[in-house]
Subunit: 636 residues, 2 copies
Amino acid sequence: MAFKYLSNIPLDEARSQFLSVLKAEGLTSETEIIKTVDANHRVAATAVYAHISAPHYNSCAMDGIALNASLTFGATDTRPVTLQQDQFHWVNTGDPLPTKCDAVVMVEDVIEGEGGEIQLFIAAVPWQHIRQIGEDIAQGDMIFPSYTEITPAIQGAMLAAGALELEVIKKPVVAVIPSGNELVFPQEKPGEGDIIEFNSTIIKGMLEDWGCEPVVYPIVRDEPGLVIEALRKAATECDFVLLNAGSSAGTKDFSVGAVAEIGEVILHGVAIRPGKPVVLGIAKRGPKVIPLVGLPGYPVSAILVMEELVRPAINLLLKKSGEEKALTEATVSRRLTSSLKYLEFIRARIGNVNGKLVAVPLNRGAGVVSSIVKADGIIEVPQNAEGFEAGEKVPVSLVRKMENINRTLIITGSHDPLIDELIDLMKIKWPDSQVASSHVGSLGGLMALKRGESHLGGTHLMDEETGEYNRSYVKRYFPDGGVTLISAVFRSQGLIIARDNPLGVESIADLTRAEYVNRQKGSGTRILLDYMLEKNGLEPNKIKGYEREEITHTAVAAAVASGTADAGMGILAAAKIYDLGFIPLIWEQYDLLVGEKTLEHPEFIHLLEVLKSAEFAQRLEKLGGYQLNNPGEVIL
Amino acid sequence: MAFKYLSNIPLDEARSQFLSVLKAEGLTSETEIIKTVDANHRVAATAVYAHISAPHYNSCAMDGIALNASLTFGATDTRPVTLQQDQFHWVNTGDPLPTKCDAVVMVEDVIEGEGGEIQLFIAAVPWQHIRQIGEDIAQGDMIFPSYTEITPAIQGAMLAAGALELEVIKKPVVAVIPSGNELVFPQEKPGEGDIIEFNSTIIKGMLEDWGCEPVVYPIVRDEPGLVIEALRKAATECDFVLLNAGSSAGTKDFSVGAVAEIGEVILHGVAIRPGKPVVLGIAKRGPKVIPLVGLPGYPVSAILVMEELVRPAINLLLKKSGEEKALTEATVSRRLTSSLKYLEFIRARIGNVNGKLVAVPLNRGAGVVSSIVKADGIIEVPQNAEGFEAGEKVPVSLVRKMENINRTLIITGSHDPLIDELIDLMKIKWPDSQVASSHVGSLGGLMALKRGESHLGGTHLMDEETGEYNRSYVKRYFPDGGVTLISAVFRSQGLIIARDNPLGVESIADLTRAEYVNRQKGSGTRILLDYMLEKNGLEPNKIKGYEREEITHTAVAAAVASGTADAGMGILAAAKIYDLGFIPLIWEQYDLLVGEKTLEHPEFIHLLEVLKSAEFAQRLEKLGGYQLNNPGEVIL
């Protein structure tokens, strides 16, 4: 294969190199003539001029009478002018101005007599209350210049000006070629071991939203010949080709070779993370230039490359002005390390906590689609920066509107499905609720609150000496107060074990015989395990898998269900979802720790309301393993 | 008819009254189950949970080898560990983790030996470079709560989590009933006297953009029975009904009566301008609530009522959180009077001139669709305000992005079609050009520049004493400099007269025999006329129609072409568009007066480039009546 090593060109340079080559080679957009009524969101290929004037006649702008203004000259409060029926015309708004008339008098100012005559107490000014011909748009006026994006109002203006058709840029037909051996489309029934191909759904949706006509090709197996064949076919049929996955330089990566085979590679590898392995190339079909892009396989990488490199090329075709990316500053909640080699994009939750805009980085794995669903913004760590310390200001581009971010309630703390259920109940009752939650463990939540980076968090921290929950931690970490502890539930914690429990795990002591899956440091569940190990006189290094960390109860249950672990600690609700065995160990107290100012936050008031609701109790019942504990009561 | 007088309820009150009645009467949204791949932009009716984990197996996150980490313990730079072929597996990114393995080592860190054995110089940490099962989304996790708007990324997350279908809110079917006697649809061929109905195209596009399924009904003639019949039919077939035009209280306004006939009127008349005559009502179909809205007929009014009253009700059905309207402050360029009775919405061009955000109000006629095409924002004059003085800060909601507004070049001055042609040439060369122009006449442009409200303007002001153009005005109005006068063209000014010139108008003196149409005060053309009248010893009151004002050359030509005026002063290009007679009077000098700081404005540099281009010369040639006058040369 021709290109074994990836280059590491800065993003801006890569983008302008790609666009320059496309322009230099003569990338052109095709146009078509369509009806104005069908043109919403399309881009005009030429300036459009008015065919007729709007209004196209002098039109009465009021209900009343039309007349020649000179008949009324001299009329005053004390000396009204009287007009006979043949001296004026009754008119409605929108009626054409009758001939010989040059003014309209409002009906309110007309006093009717018995015999059809009228009296006027104010003189009319010539051309009053008349919408003059061409007043809005005159025939021959340019309604809008080339490359204007059509909106419903513009459609209206065109129709008013008699422009019933227009020439628009054709929607670029963009091929999306998914590749990979185990992939099946979501429409097909996935068999054992099949992986649902979902990138092409994401890419297709993005392309449609950008004004393209995407065509998803059949999934190509990982063979160089097949990839080349698919690419060649797409390049004959479409205006732009995207090949998804296989863009890196591994033994199963055939994109760059295929692009080199049917066209030319412009560059391979860009200094961004995620998204580094990208192939930018072009092919020719006669004089026509076809951009070819090999997208990385991980969805987060693919989306980033779509936004940063594919979209500018699409905009070039569509003659659209790219939206300027507006960077805002936010305080980053934890240390972010980054390589000097890359411009790094890290998705984050963004919230306004008591006036401070806070960015909480999400898992930056390139495969983590949930990070895209949850992200409110993207932190950009510049290529020449080593990262940021917690508390530093970082540049972020917002994904959601600032107005919504500003009123979002930020929940940061221990993971429990009940948090998601509360959020759902809020949405059902108040559809415009804005709540964001992240799982960082009980201690992490406590620290976030202390640093002023969250409004509240779930917490279940047992005092190892007293066995009491939360109180002693709150007193230790918030000696000066400023927080309120609010009661929520008791929940059943225990060991989640394999369905048939082949190892016969019955207690903490049995964990020495099993493959364990742990929770992350700082989580209440990890603290509980350590407490129980100590009580049983066990050293952590006696537990195989102690260093394997998951950050939610459900992820622990998933590990056990998959057979890669025999046991993990978690709540009954998680075991139930996976139909796993469960050895209850303790009813633990799960409370909400709330910042002082949060108590007046409108979204928190809503949260308290659903916390106390019958619907919430029903949801807990369904999850299993919960007891209500005077929800909403202030403990401390 | 039941409701003869319109109420004048404040907008916020009207909106909440409308929504409360809809809620109290039990407005409900229907739902349907669709495929995830078809769900982009739809609104989820319920929370969606993961059916499978993502990833659903422990997956290798790097190309390299998979092994049991314990085999590598103790490996260092000086004491590498050697492993035989049966102790590890070669893997690619995305491969399932082979059994008994708990770590992946990157290919870069693996030194291959001759016989297939490998050496490692760093110990592996258990679970390194592995994407653990459920790491992204674990089975049973809530992917998103109810009423989430689906995006391509969310589709991806759902598919990754095995959620192939979901329940969404059904698109509300919204009836749009146009009414009016002379109306024909744009699809039909308009006959003599027909008016193209374009409101329904605007309304349909807005509804589609908001997530509805609009159904445009046939045009109803202005008869109460027909309107009632159409309304009743739509209320049986749709979820929401909009009746366009006839919403006021005139003799041909049947909306309120029709709503009262088939349902109930909630209110008639809202304290806004434009948009006051609106009917809000409901009907019932069994238990189902059908909102009925009578929209005003003028397009600007109809659009405003759609945004301010219809959209919130649609959002209620679609469970969408309405976008918060963000008001910005801008300096208003001229005095704005307003009635204390209404909250007034005035469309405006908004630009950033040397750091100051300036709002230039557009023609506020409710029929002026061009104002919607041109508007960058909407000034909101509160109901309790009498208006604003020029130079005051006014609240505006922006229609275009602030980033684009900030880089927009504001051209304010004399009208000439060449300005539009320049803008078009800029767009063709640089599709993301941002230029806004308004016609306020030469003097108006000069004053706007002086007040710091524009970047430049076209100007043709003749000194009545010297006959010289522009210089003396510039010196008088800008005694301290700060502006640059740049040469553009000579253009042929003269009398635009009827095609066959029945009155035999040959000169200024003949205007006393004709019906004249004038340009507005402060325009260079008006000044030219006054100069010529004086030279000919004529008083303005000798010219019939002297007080009839149009603000562009084309509007003057349109008035002459329509036969409502016999003559007007204007440029040859305008006469040519309408195929009218033209009596040339003078070759006048049309220059650009440019603010000092504008000279470095990137968009102005582009404008200068096209001003000097061959393409511009060709366009002038086509317009007719121009001579290039060293375009781009600095005069002063």
